[in-house]
């Protein structure tokens, strides 16, 4: 059977992806930019628009990092605003499970789902570091090894809150004076190692029952968490082989949680560079990469691995001939990639070998090792490559990350989407009213209601 492709748009917030020096790069904070990308995505029948989160500005060598786009709005506020200027587009936001409380987050998502007519989605992420904690009441209270525990329990608690209303309690019958039929609507009680709460949830059941749940995270614990509790998983595995491997792994984990393979969608993040010819597209791609990684940016990236000041290094020259400094403190703070390299000395050796083999300068090496999977070529080529990727089970669709804000997906929507539609692998219209329906996810059971109707 021909699989249908799902598409989503990422609004790049704080990042080193956006080529902000390009005259076409407009504001990352004005609402008009969000509206533009949302309208483009909706014109392309995308499932959702996705916003990332950051709760502390990045620092490098003890100073606020100043080379990248920085300054982002509050996720919930912007998504609620976008609900006013779109009709079908899903509104997905990353919200941290560490520096928030379940009652408040559940309330905000249930409200967003009501206010958008069933289009809310929550990307559950975890955090733990004291660096981010310095902006919050409790500080950095969570040991790293507990962060998935808290995330899992946070999500479970939030689900109990969403399910505390069944959906039929409010009748608002003016004649009899019955506003709601069940005085216990919203009642909950939850006690575990992280949360000890009880009372009444004060948002009635929302159109989707709960937001669609996304999860990102590549560790074993992260994958298991997604397989047990998420509707979709975000991944960076966007090459065909890595994608297939990841896809098989996470889909294979579902059965042991009593879930079927169609209950978890896999969304790799990817970029697209188009051209009138293949050669032109590749030329454009190289140019974009070059703009994304300036000499200074390359040095900062290298410092992240070497964990020491390399500001005297020539970005157009060779890599340092000494090994990275191993220390408990990292030179870069507030950046997920800073924690990814568990063995910097081995990575540095690989980078040196790569640089020597390909005759790469520091900047060229960083351009190579930080590259994301991209679909590069003519619109027809990209449409075919993306389709192949999905048909061969390397993903169920893509989150597209533009390098320009906010017009970076205009060309894709105008040229590639019609080709996917012609090939019969992409919808010409939205099939449903809610995000859950558009994603083709099976309908939700409300645990409390199903118990009741069974009796």
């Amino acid at each position: 059977m021909t699989k249908q492709i799902h598409l989503a748009a990422h609004f790049p917030g704080v990042n080193n992806t956006t080529v902000w020096s390009d005259p076409a790069s407009l504001s990352q904070i004005e609402f008009s930019s969000f509206t533009h990308l949302a309208h483009t995505a909706e014109r392309g029948k995308f499932d959702f628009l996705f916003l990332a989160e950051g709760l502390r500005l990045r620092e490098h060598a003890g100073k606020i990092y100043d080379l990248d786009v920085v300054g982002r709005p509050d996720t919930f506020t912007v998504l609620a605003g976008l609900a006013a200027v779109t009709e079908h587009l899903g509104l997905a936001g990353t919200i941290n499970s560490t520096f928030n409380e379940p009652y408040e987050v559940a309330r905000q998502f249930a409200s967003l789902d009501h206010l958008s007519g069933g289009r809310a989605a929550w990307n559950v992420v975890t955090s733990w570091d004291a660096f981010t904690g310095e902006n919050f009441r409790r500080g950095g209270f969570l040991p790293e090894n507990q962060r998935y525990d808290r995330a899992q329990l946070f999500l479970r608690t939030a689900r109990e809150l969403f399910d505390s209303w069944q959906g039929h309690e409010i009748v608002a019958d003016k004649e009899s004076g019955t506003f709601l039929t069940d005085p216990r609507a919203g009642a909950f009680e939850h006690r575990d190692a992280h949360f000890d709460i009880a009372g009444r949830f004060n948002v009635p059941r929302s159109p989707q029952g709960r937001p669609v749940i996304f999860q990102a995270g590549d560790s074993d614990a992260g994958r298991e968490f997604a397989a047990s509790a998420a509707d979709a998983i975000f991944t960076g595995h966007a090459t065909l082989e890595a994608g297939k491997h990841f896809y098989a792994d996470v889909k294979g984990r579902l059965a042991r949680h009593g879930r079927s393979r169609d209950e978890l969608l896999v969304f790799p993040a990817t970029t697209v560079v188009l051209g009138d010819t293949e050669a032109q597209a590749h030329e454009r791609a190289a140019h974009i990469r070059h703009q994304q990684v300036s000499g200074q940016t390359a040095i900062r990236f290298l410092e992240q691995l070497w964990n020491t000041d390399l500001s005297d290094l020539d970005p157009d020259g060779p890599l340092p001939d000494f090994d990275p400094v191993i220390g408990t403190d990292t030179i870069t703070k507030g950046r997920a990639s800073a924690r990814r390299n568990r063995d910097p000395i081995a990575t540095a050796r690989q980078w040196r070998e790569l640089a020597e083999a390909k005759q790469l300068s520091v900047r060229e090496l960083i351009i190579e090792v930080t590259a994301r999977q991209s679909f590069i070529g003519t619109a027809a080529h990209v449409a075919d490559a993306m389709n192949r990727f999905v048909q061969e089970d390397a993903g169920d669709g893509f989150i597209l990350v533009p390098h320009l804000t906010p017009g970076g997906l205009d060309e894709f929507v105008d040229t590639v989407v019609p080709l996917l539609q012609e090939r019969g692998v992409y919808r010409p219209e939205y099939p449903g009213a809610t995000l859950r329906e558009n994603l083709g996810l099976p309908p939700l059971e409300n645990p409390r209601r199903s118990k009741k109707t069974a009796s």
């Binding site: 609402f31 300054g71 509050d74 919930f76 605003g81 006013a84």
Partner: protein, 379 residues
């Protein structure tokens, strides 16, 4: 003709209206309280009346335990954000409970509302001493006597976060490769009894610099908090004499904490039932509810012309009024379509929206970031 000083008029929105039985009025859209369409229509109606702003009530627990009263409410901040792109002029001031939330989150939420609405955002910080709401957060160490002191620190943290980016921090300097000038971003390093917040905000400084902070002064503790922390204060005095005493106290408190350059604007709070048979209508609702509705603010029942008389008689010392419609839409449309034209005829209300932010509408200056190197006072 002598021109009167123009009144400021706000409307406080809560569910189907402020009377607990408001939802049972035949005009009430009781089944739509949890839809975006309802809120958009209501706020657009207020905007049609050229009102200064709407406030939107909120709480972190159910309003009622009764099944014959409205139960449940959507997050007020998200309602305001949902309504913002569908309106153009009216100020939007959602309530948010500060007792259980994080100043870092609220600071960026209200700043973002200010971006979405192009300078129309306000915020009403609210405390909650209810044990039932504390139990929703597992927080056990609430001392009711300290709630307003905590709230004052909260507002201070939020305002500092708004100031933590100078207005021109984003430079996009291609020559040096810098997107921001980090010397124009500032750690707030707030350290107090309840909060330690490092900063800076993740959200740039919003259009108004500092969105408008509003507070309701019902008792002595709330009044002190409002006088210290708010730009707009709602008072609930029942007659002109008591209103004058209250406004004098607010001014004295504000001066005592060094606010001589930004004395809060004070609005009288009033619950209103309007029309020829307003008193009967309220009595009928009281009967339906089984008890007489006696809110914390004075109740007015009468015609729009009578209300105009009362507002103009009581206006001394006040910048204007915040009206709480007993029943939406009945009393809201009476405000926008009867009271406002009446006040306009008497030269006491604007004939059109003027350009500018919500702060500017109240004659409040746009603050310079306290961290700006050359910050030396007021614009």
């Amino acid at each position: 003709m002598t021109s009167r000083p123009k009144l400021h008029l706000a409307v406080a929105l809560d569910g189907a209206g402020w009377h607990p039985a408001a939802w049972r009025d035949e005009a009430a859209r009781a089944a739509e309280l949890f839809t975006a369409g309802y809120w958009v229509d209501v706020v657009r109606e207020a905007e049609r009346g050229l009102l200064d702003l709407v406030t939107i009530e909120d709480s972190l627990g159910p309003q009622s335990t009764r099944t014959d009263q409205v139960r449940g409410r959507l997050d007020a901040g998200l309602i305001a954000a949902r309504v913002a792109p569908r309106t153009a002029h009216i100020g939007l001031a959602p309530s948010a409970v500060v007792t259980h939330t994080e100043p870092f989150h609220i600071s960026k939420a209200i700043a973002s509302l200010d971006f979405i609405s192009a300078g129309r955002a306000g915020w009403q910080p609210q405390v909650s001493g209810r044990r039932s709401e504390a139990a929703h957060f597992g927080r056990r160490d609430i001392d009711p006597a300290e709630l307003f002191d905590e709230a004052a620190d909260y507002v201070e943290v939020v305002r500092r976060l708004w100031d933590s980016w100078e207005d021109d921090a984003e430079i996009r300097d291609v020559a040096t490769g810098r997107f921001i000038d980090r010397d124009k971003l500032h750690y707030i390093d707030f350290a107090g009894k309840w909060f330690h917040v490092k900063g800076p905000s993740i959200t740039p400084r919003p259009p108004q610099g500092q969105p408008l902070v509003a507070a309701l002064a019902t008792d002595a503790a709330a009044l002190r908090f409002a006088a210290r922390a708010a730009d707009i204060v709602f008072t609930t005095a029942h007659d002109a004499e008591r209103a004058r005493i209250t406004t004098d106290r607010i001014r004295a408190e504000a001066l005592a904490v060094g606010r001589e350059h930004d004395i809060p604007r004070i609005l009288g709070d009033l619950v209103v039932f309007l029309g020829e048979h307003a008193a009967d209508r309220k009595a009928r609702l009281d009967e339906l509810d089984g008890t007489e509705y006696t809110p914390d603010a004075p109740v007015f029942a009468g015609t729009a012309a009578e209300l105009a008389d009362r507002l103009l008689n009581q206006a001394a010392g006040l910048a204007g009024f915040r009206l709480r419609p007993g029943v939406i839409p009945h009393d809201l449309t009476a405000i926008t379509r009867e009271l406002v034209p009446e006040l306009q005829r008497r030269g006491a209300f604007r004939a059109a929206y003027e350009a500018g932010t919500l702060r500017a509408r109240f004659g409040l200056h746009r603050p310079v970031s306290r961290y700006a190197t050359n910050a030396g006072g007021h614009l």
